[in-house]
């Protein structure tokens, strides 16, 4: 079977399984997978920035902005979910522009440090602006999501909403990555001075990649807010931001599927430890092992295994054809 046909059939099977999951699994799996979809959106939305070679260690802050904006718009002003979700996403993107503009013009490490400090700044704002966010008491009673005026009351309907949002975000990001824009991003990541010499405005393209990622992190945050219906500032800290990076690096930086595989793999496998320090210990150890022993990430694993088999088979001489 040709490669593309095989990919399409694998995708179709995965999608069919995800569509059927609520019928087979109970509420627990519906809930778990809706969170996995949120993590996939977060991980995939970091990819454009990483492709440009920008280490964004502050993605959770933009999720936080999206979550609180959407929750407060819906709860205090009665704004419908579709609008409040977009409101959260646009505000996250706008803040991304404001933070990215001064820090993206410099060497990557400046940007990395500014994003780390920004996570803390946003967390502090969410915890001390008590009159708006209820601070560290947590914001509860966020309305359930609704679509075209119909409230999605059951977890199963919210699961399909999460699946839909994830597919939309992934299709958009995939199209962008395979457009001219995606090529420019890649060229910046591979050799920014060469790209600049060919007339690429580095700062603008990096800024676009970064704030686009912030937009989708805002989408993930908005869904999360209406799904969990309780927001607590410390959840959006440095640890979550690091986890989003870890999804990308464990999954693999070289392929669009990397962050998706990484987020799904880690969120599902760490499920027995969720909420305990062992979850973080597991993530960190998998990350360190990946960097040391599988630098290309999980997506390169099948190729490596196939390579091993191939190497054994052809250890007897075989006429080589020019590659």
């Amino acid at each position: 079977m040709p490669r593309s046909a095989r990919t399409v059939s694998v995708l179709a099977v995965v999608l069919a399984l995800l569509l059927l999951l609520p019928l087979a699994g109970g509420d627990y799996y519906v809930y778990l997978f809706a969170l996995v979809f949120t993590n996939v959106i977060l991980a995939a939305s970091l990819r454009p920035s990483l492709t440009c070679g920008q280490l964004n260690i502050g993605h959770s802050a933009f999720m936080c902005i999206g979550a609180y904006t959407s929750a407060l718009l819906a709860k205090n002003l009665g704004v419908p979910f579709e609008i409040s979700l977009l409101g959260g996403a646009f505000l996250a993107a706008a803040v991304g522009l404001a933070i990215g503009y001064p820090s993206l013009r410099l060497r990557g490490v400046y940007f990395a440090m500014v994003t780390v400090a920004f996570v803390e700044a946003i967390r502090l704002i969410a915890s001390i602006w008590v009159s708006l966010t209820r601070g560290n008491a947590g914001l509860s009673g966020v309305p359930k999501p609704s679509v075209l005026g119909v409230t999605l009351a059951t977890k199963t309907s919210q699961y399909y909403l999460a699946l839909f949002l994830m597919l939309v975000v992934l299709v958009i990001l995939y199209k962008l990555e395979h457009s001219r824009l995606g090529l420019v991003w890649k060229s910046i990541g591979m050799a920014d001075n060469l790209a600049q010499s060919l007339g690429v405005n580095l700062a603008n393209y990096k800024l676009l990649a970064f704030s686009l990622g912030c937009f989708f992190a805002g989408v993930a945050g908005a869904f999360y807010a209406h799904f969990i219906r309780f927001l607590f500032p410390p959840e959006f800290g440095f640890l979550l931001a690091t986890n989003i990076l870890i999804y990308n690096f464990v999954g693999g930086r070289g392929h669009f599927a990397g962050p998706i595989v990484g987020a799904a793999f880690l969120s599902l496998l760490s499920e027995p430890f969720r909420g305990s320090p062992y979850e973080t210990i597991f993530y960190s150890i998998v990350m360190l092992l990946t960097i040391l022993f599988l630098p290309g990430g999980l997506v390169t694993l099948p190729g490596k295994l196939a390579g091993l088999r191939w190497w054994k088979r052809v250890s007897t001489p075989r006429p080589s054809t020019a590659a």
Binding site: P102, A117, E120, A121, Y278, T280, I281, M287, L288
Partner: protein, 287 residues
């Protein structure tokens, strides 16, 4: 704010600033040579504090012995991190940064099962208070300033007067040229990791008798150190010292007047403005 309160927060700012300087010096040294930011610095600060807790408080060793032990142990750990993480990825900046992030979250999370979830307290090492310009300040806080001062002068002499320090400066200027002159770049980079980690451990060990200990205690000083090296210019040692003093004073005076959270937000806004108008920091070279 009364004059007495101003004097008090200035002295406390100087002592907190000394801690920040110790943190920032290691970061800026490692950045200058290897172009990496050691995200694990905060976790090492935390471990330095816990070495004091166990060796000085639990096992009853003298404070200075525990202090030196913290620096030696964590310095050795720094060399091992260079050997086991930085060297295998062959100087790749991005994988190194992510691996150091993972090391940070690993050490922080492992702190809970290993050290327990309750906050730990170390009893005071230096008791009593002393009058400074008519204001009483605890000797505990005052003593940080000379101890940190000795370490900073020691680092300055080490970098500028010894052969190993000369090798570090050579790597900072040009790694390939240094290697051609016979500098063992890998070994010297390992020493830079060791020196950076030892300084972070010293900072944590100095703060242990003053603040409560918990596995996340290193996060704030790490963020402060980031702000300092952006302020002073990445890779600049004088910049780190001046930046540390400025931030310590801002921190203490603004925190006394407005509270700790507004002080942090203010320093963050200050950094964003600085990046807009003077992107290379106070002492930095053009990137």
């Amino acid at each position: 704010m009364t004059a007495a309160l101003l004097v008090q927060s200035t002295v406390i700012g100087l002592s907190i600033g000394s801690i920040y300087i110790l943190m920032a010096l290691g970061l800026t040294l490692m950045f200058g040579m290897m172009h990496i930011i050691n995200f694990a610095h905060g976790a090492i600060y935390m471990l330095g504090g816990f070495v004091i807790y166990y060796v000085f408080f639990q096992w009853g060793a003298p404070y200075f012995a525990a202090f030196v032990l913290a620096m030696v142990l964590l310095g050795a750990a720094g060399y091992l991190v260079e050997r086991s993480i930085y060297r295998p990825v062959k100087g790749g900046i991005e994988p190194t940064l992510v691996a150091l992030l993972a090391l940070t979250t690993l050490l922080q999370a492992a702190g809970y099962p290993v050290f327990g979830t309750l906050d730990k307290h170390v009893p005071p090492v230096f008791s009593g208070t002393r009058s400074v310009l008519g204001v009483m300040i605890s000797v505990e806080r005052l003593m940080i300033i000379p101890i940190a001062g000795v370490l900073v002068v020691g680092l300055y002499l080490f970098i500028n007067k010894t052969r190993v320090g000369g090798a570090m400066r050579a790597i900072e200027q040009d790694k390939e040229a240094a290697a051609l002159q016979g500098v063992n770049v890998n070994f010297i980079n390992g020493l830079a990791f060791a020196v950076g980690f030892a300084l972070a451990a010293a900072a944590g060990a100095l703060m242990a008798p003053i603040f409560k200990l918990d596995p996340m205690m290193g996060e704030q000083p790490l963020l402060k150190a980031f702000i300092i090296i952006i302020l002073g210019g990445l890779g600049s040692i004088p910049g780190a010292i001046l930046g540390g003093l400025i931030l310590g004073l801002i921190d203490s005076i603004v925190a006394t007047a407005l509270g700790a959270e507004p002080a942090f937000l203010l320093s963050f806004v200050f950094i964003i403005l600085l990046l807009l108008f003077r992107p290379t920091g106070l002492f930095g070279h053009a990137p």
